[in-house]
Amino acid sequence: MNDIAEQSAKALAGVLAFYKSKGCPCAFPRFFQLACFDFRHFGTGPVGCHLTDIMIDLAVTGPTATYKLLPGDEEKYRCAVCGTEGTIHSEQFNIHMWITVFKAEPSRARQLGHAADARLPIPGGLYGFKQEDMDRTSTYFGSGTVQEMVDYLMEMGG
């Protein structure tokens, strides 16, 4: 893992810990903005985001996790705090292109975080085979530092 990736992973763990300290991530629309990125909404070839993968992992495993797998199910999760549900699965789109997708239902938590009303600043992390595909997600992701990403994800208020 390179420095930026490592810093981003640590920073996102801090963001999830902050969300959990406030109840759960579902109260933060910008959590879903990052965790539910799906390239298919952009009409491009396959594009993934390492930060999305990390956010999903943090939401379902380890000390920051609030989403629990429903008994007897392989992909349906429910937030143990607010009850928001969603599915997570992993699809292969090319010879070494695995993308994990989190589809969340509308949040059941009382909104605490700021609306997802701007491009999400990220310090890299997109992967795909063609630059033009990644460029087409520029209405969703902007360029930013790790700190700018953290500040954006943790901004409070509607």
């Binding site: 495993t61 392989e74 992909e75 292969q92 090319n94 010879i95 070494h96 695995w98």
Partner: protein, 108 residues
């Protein structure tokens, strides 16, 4: 996911494919179809085309030999597993479960 966990996932996925290939020889045709489609989509990407050609040759082998490649413990086997053409063979939920299990297993 760390490189070690990616390798572990690649091995778990390859083992699952190897276990199922004899009962599902149609997976070979599905993989060939994937490679044909990807080759057209990425005709301007020489490195990908090289991976596709390597797998095209493997998929012409008898099923037992394809299984042997999937389970090859050498560095070559590890590299080839990262480039699996068996997309769409397993349900996305099963793939996620395998990823989750690898992720939750402490690295050795």
């Amino acid at each position: 996911m760390s490189h070690a966990k990616q390798d572990n996932f690649g091995l778990a996925f390859a083992r699952r494919i190897a276990d199922g290939l004899k009962e599902h020889p149609e997976w070979i045709a599905l993989a060939k179809g994937n490679i044909e489609r990807w080759s057209q989509q990425n005709a301007d990407a020489p490195s990908l085309l090289a991976c596709y050609r390597e797998w095209q040759a493997i998929l012409e082998l008898p099923v037992e030999d394809v299984v042997a490649v999937l389970l090859d413990p050498t560095d070559r086997g590890q590299r080839i597993r990262q480039n699996s053409p068996f997309a769409g063979v397993l349900p996305p939920a099963e793939v996620w479960r395998m990823k989750r299990e690898v992720h939750e297993t402490p690295a050795t």
